[in-house]
Symmetry: C2
Subunit: 398 residues, 2 copies
């Protein structure tokens, strides 16, 4: 399974050729950035993937006529009546092609991104458990910074955010959010509480070959995925849950009915097309043109991580997590992780790492936001090329 170097060369030249023609609204235009521009690496806006989709061309163009998809319903024969059959099929095909999750015997529930599905899970699980007070929702620190906000948004009487799973010592039912690979730290995780009366929710947004070695096809009870992190189509807001228990799936569907009366059809149909193209191109792994989505973008991320590690080594100001070498069933390589975020620790004595970066016009997310130490920051690795280059230039000067 060689050819990666050649892929990288082809890709780089095509990126340079295309990069300057793009014009589009996003969180600050990063093309032709002035040298003193503030660069925003706080969000994980996955615009890095644009170069691949530009290369694919018309094969992924989505067209819908004015009279199509007027109805609320996508498939009256599915309990998840708002799930487009084409999306369901594409999800199964892609997991099959990648080998990262089992879909046989699972119900698929579609959501407006995976955040909404997480809320659907909380609703489904807590209305099934007989318990007088709110169910504790936990995740081990550092945990995804949005979890506390999502859980406590409307002060639900069904559940509440109970913080760091490492510190949970109550003899009460709980839901543990297992984020693997973890956001922000990129490490593979299992559950930490391991007690009676617990329900595990696996947030697998980053369990794709561009980020991490695929070591097995997972078959947990509740697994969440999202197009944002898989394909880069964050603007489409399409997520999916693979759910083993049909009753849990039914209640999640109920939540989706009441919260937003299902999920928009257009992004479902568009993402279906995109997932099918990715699944189809998995067969072209190793092609010199870099046709395979995961191979192409893994190569991009590998290069960025190599540059970041070299820069960090030179500055002697920071440390980065180390990831184990593992055999990836998808690529066939022994490789380490190249996460979507860098979880950077400042050297001893620097108390506010986020401030240090901000003083150098780099916006990051403080470790504090992840229930962790302000000596850490999370930095997006999936922005546009120019942005990444400017980040590296500035980092080397700190």
């Amino acid at each position: 399974m060689g050819g990666a170097d050649q892929v990288r060369i082809t890709r780089r030249s095509s990126m340079t050729a295309n990069g300057d023609n793009v014009k589009e609204n996003h969180g600050g235009d990063t093309r032709n950035l002035p040298v003193d521009a503030v660069i925003n690496l706080d969000h994980g806006d996955p615009t890095m993937f644009e170069s691949y989709w530009r290369k694919v061309g018309d094969e992924c163009t989505f067209v819908i006529k004015g009279f199509e998809s007027l109805s609320y319903f996508s498939n009256p024969n599915n309990p998840c009546w708002f799930l487009e059959p084409k999306l369901e099929e594409a999800i199964k095909n892609l997991h099959g092609a990648v080998g990262n999750a089992v879909t046989d015997g699972y119900s698929i529930v579609v959501g407006t991104g995976s955040s909404q599905l997480l809320q659907a899970v909380l609703f489904a699980v807590t209305t099934s458990l007989e318990h007088a007070s709110q169910i504790n929702v936990l995740s081990p620190a550092p945990y995804y910074s949005s979890y506390p906000e999502i859980v406590d948004l409307v002060k639900s009487g069904l559940y509440k955010w109970a913080g760091d799973a490492h510190e949970f010592d109550k003899d009460e039912p709980y839901i543990e959010l297992v984020t693997s690979p973890n956001n922000p730290s990129g490490v593979i995780r299992g559950s930490v509480v391991n007690r009676e009366g617990g329900v595990l929710v696996h947030d697998l947004a980053y369990y794709w070959p561009q980020y991490t070695p695929i070591t097995s096809s997972l078959d947990f009870d509740i697994m969440l995925f999202t197009a944002s992190k898989c394909t880069g189509h964050a603007g489409s807001r399409v997520g999916w849950a693979l759910v083993k228990d049909k009753e849990v799936a039914k209640k999640m569907i109920k939540f989706m009915e009441v919260n937003t009366i299902g999920v928009s059809k257009e992004p479902q149909l568009r993402v279906a097309k995109i997932l099918q193209v990715i699944a189809e191109r998995c067969k072209r792994f190793g092609s010199p043109e870099g046709d395979d989505f995961f191979e192409y973008n893994k190569s991009l991320l590998t290069e960025r991580w190599e540059i970041l590690r070299e820069t960090v080594k030179k500055t002697q100001m920071f440390t980065l997590p180390k990831y184990p070498l593992q055999h990836c069933n998808y690529t066939g390589d022994v490789t380490q992780a190249h996460p979507a975020f860098a979880w950077i620790k400042c050297k001893e004595g620097i108390e506010d790492c986020e401030k240090l970066f901000r003083d150098h016009k780099i916006l990051t997310r403080s470790g504090r936001r992840f229930g962790s130490d302000p000596g850490f920051v999370r930095v997006s690795m999936v922005g546009r090329d120019e942005e990444f280059k400017l980040f590296i230039d500035r980092l080397s000067m700190i």
Copy 2:
């Protein structure tokens, strides 16, 4: 402003020509319905509008390339950073062309349908009010059947469903949902509580010329609209709120960020195109081809209501609401309402109207669900032609 009869003739012949070619998933295929098929008029699935969009043709075809709209962001310069600028412009143009709501000085917040925006409003208003216990949310019966479910879904500590506004007698802060025209009854409504400490939310989903005379351009503090009922694109899940108070709008945006990280781009861009086409065609009011969206569909609804009223008159089993004749600023006619739902009352002695219809293979929604009497049912008037015809056939035989 004549031409309506001619429009009707043109329309009917084109519908017959096209109607049989359609194949699409929805809540049960209603084309070529077997004579004994159960017909579902429980939902307000607005498939009636398909005939107009089919007639418009390619002008409304939406195309998006694989590399477009990857980012979470639509417009970083707008506090509502996930609102597509084209949709914002189209919303303003359409309200301007129709004259049903003021947009100058309002913040526009986009949602995944208007149900999500209602939740955003509840969050925004209740986190602004200083009050120890849950804020009461009310609406006068008969009220939209989903309101209680939406409000109490996750047993929020911020607000609770407090039922029929007519019966509200507590000296506590409240939010009154003013649905006008009302779902299910089609009548124009004002607030009923009219007390200190109240916040009004105007749900104006049906305040469009195909359903009701437009008597003024409304300028309430919080107004909710949705593409589902305006254009018929229910599958797109696009709603919008016009909000006078910038702080309320900001908190609504916060809710949208946490609940679904904004709103899918594809349906926003598609609906933007559709609203612009409607606004543009408002100038062709009265054309013999029936180019104007509202005129065409008002004509369809008028015809259906005439047929329904005739049938009801013959059976002597039911009564229908009477709507006042009013001058519509949009059409220039003096006209009555032709609502999206028929709110049907069974004659004395029939206690369960929904069961009576079910026995005749017509699924409707019981008055009970609207906080009202089981002697009423709500019947959708916006389904496909075949469905409506079958409904009338069966109604005449009850």
